[in-house]
């Protein structure tokens, strides 16, 4: 079709000016966008408040949808269940018989465990979840992997807290709103979690790949000890995630590690738990201070050491050991 009449100003001065003003406004809009973009690239947390407010506003719709997702899954499960009821029943009866035995054994082990812990005088390190929530949305069109959960500051959720399902770790809280919060999923390219093999102490980093899998990178290079089917759990270093939360199952080996599948697929998860930060002091310490601050603290410390024992050389003082930062605080 031809140009609409408004786009052909001809010799009409007013129309020409109007057209020019339109371009001017659009251009300045784009320019403003570029400025905001560079601002939020350098300071990812800059517009957190605005985003959380919007998420709070839209979260009721997401919650309704999440209910629908679970309900529809249940309907399909129920229909599928009818087709395989007979064989399923027999299978389950067998499994049940075995499970009863295992349960008895597990009970015995639990008691033994309690007794041994009492002997060692270990405190019971049970962590209580801060809140239970639903996964209500995810950035399905973007290359970043964020999700929203239906719990926020009002429920005690704070940035940095781990989010897990009964099957394993899902991610950690990035921004909190009043009733909803944004979660950085494990599969996000900027997510990195320290993990170890469940059976021994092979340590690695689990990095997100954009395709829904994780890439495990060994810390100690050498012969790759990982085998297909190995399960990796959080190692607890860095202090953010408590040790022993299941993370991933190895599906393929690479030169410096492995490719692993998430154990708790967020898409199939209904309810998630928000847990407290495991070692808040360690995390606070690992928030690397700025160079100027560190230098100032260093100078003060040196001065105090010199004041305390002027005879000794400052070079021999024992600097406090700082655990290396393993958890980059990435925003978007």
């Amino acid at each position: 079709m031809a140009l609409p009449s408004g786009r052909r100003p001809g010799s009409n001065r007013k129309a020409q000016l109007g057209l020019f003003a339109g371009y001017l406004m659009a251009g300045s809009g784009a320019l403003l966008g570029a400025v905001l973009l560079s601002l939020s690239l350098f300071r990812p947390e800059a517009f957190a408040g605005l985003r959380s407010m919007a998420a709070d506003f839209a979260s009721p719709a997401g919650e309704a949808g999440a209910g629908g997702r679970v309900a529809s899954q249940n309907v399909f499960d129920a229909i599928a269940g009818y087709y395989r009821a007979g064989s399923r029943n027999a299978e389950l009866r067998d499994e049940m018989r075995i499970a009863r035995v295992k349960l008895a054994e597990a009970e015995a082990i639990r008691r033994e465990n309690l007794r041994l812990k009492a002997v060692l005088r270990l405190a019971d390190g049970e962590t209580r979840p801060i809140a239970t929530a639903r996964l209500i949305g995810s950035t399905a069109a973007s290359t970043r992997r964020f999700a929203w959960i239906s719990a926020g500051r009002a429920d005690g959720v704070r940035p940095g807290m781990p989010v897990s399902s009964p099957l394993g770790l899902i991610g950690r809280v990035l921004e909190t709103g009043q009733r909803s919060s944004r979660v950085l999923l494990l599969t996000d390219p900027e997510s990195m979690v320290p993990v170890r093999r469940a059976t021994d102490d092979v340590v690695a980093f689990a990095e997100g790949r954009a395709d829904g899998l994780l890439r495990l990178r060994l810390i100690n290079l050498g012969i790759n000890p990982i085998k297909k089917g190995d399960v990796f759990v959080t190692s607890g270093s860095g202090g953010l995630f408590r040790p022993g939360i299941a993370v991933a199952l190895v599906t393929a080996l690479t030169r410096d590690g492995a490719i692993a599948q998430l154990l708790s697929n967020p898409a199939a998860t209904d309810v998630v738990l928000v847990e407290p930060i495991w070692q808040p002091q360690a995390v606070a310490a690992s928030q690397a201070p700025s160079i100027a601050e560190a230098e100032r603290a260093d100078a003060e410390e040196t001065a105090s050491v010199i004041a305390a024992n002027p005879a000794t050389d400052t070079g021999s003082r024992s600097a406090p050991e700082v655990t290396p930062v393993v958890e980059p605080q990435s925003g978007d």
């Binding site: 659009a26 601002l39 069109a141 390219p189």
Partner: protein
Amino acid sequence: MSRRAVIDSVVSRVRTDGPSRSINRTQSPIRALGVPWGTIMLASLTPWLPIIAPVPILPPFGFMMLIAWRLGRPNLLPLWAGFPLGLFDDLFSGQPLGSGILLFSLALIAIDLIEIRFPWRSFWLDWLSAGTLLLLYLTATTLFARVPLTDLQVQLVGSQLLFCIVLFPIIARTAALLDRLRLQRVRRID
């Protein structure tokens, strides 16, 4: 400007329904002006669909809806519409704030220039320009998200792009359907 004039400026050359149903009925100015904005914003709310995606599978519906409306009805959206609509999209898309504002604004300007260069557009030209814009949009959003462009990432974004291009005519038809809804004469003239 009176209400009559507002409606006339928007619907000057269109009568979508036959005379029998439109006797003593008129269009509502709120619907006539608000439906494009509303549907683009609704499409930007894709992240709140009950899908927790492990990979970027869904197309950027907000951006596609914007292009579809702009190509289908050149006079409806002002040139500066990229700013508010992009801002709204940024709040939910997971991209760093500002990427939507910039890209939506640039897309509107680009379509404007295409329109001046090729005044007589056709379905194929529309599809081609939409496809090119989507290619640029997806590449730019990936770069703005600071995701390293590995082979894997290129594959993922490439398949997303193919899906978007195939889907675009359907989105354009949806916008056209919504356009009829926009101009439906339901309000009785007293």
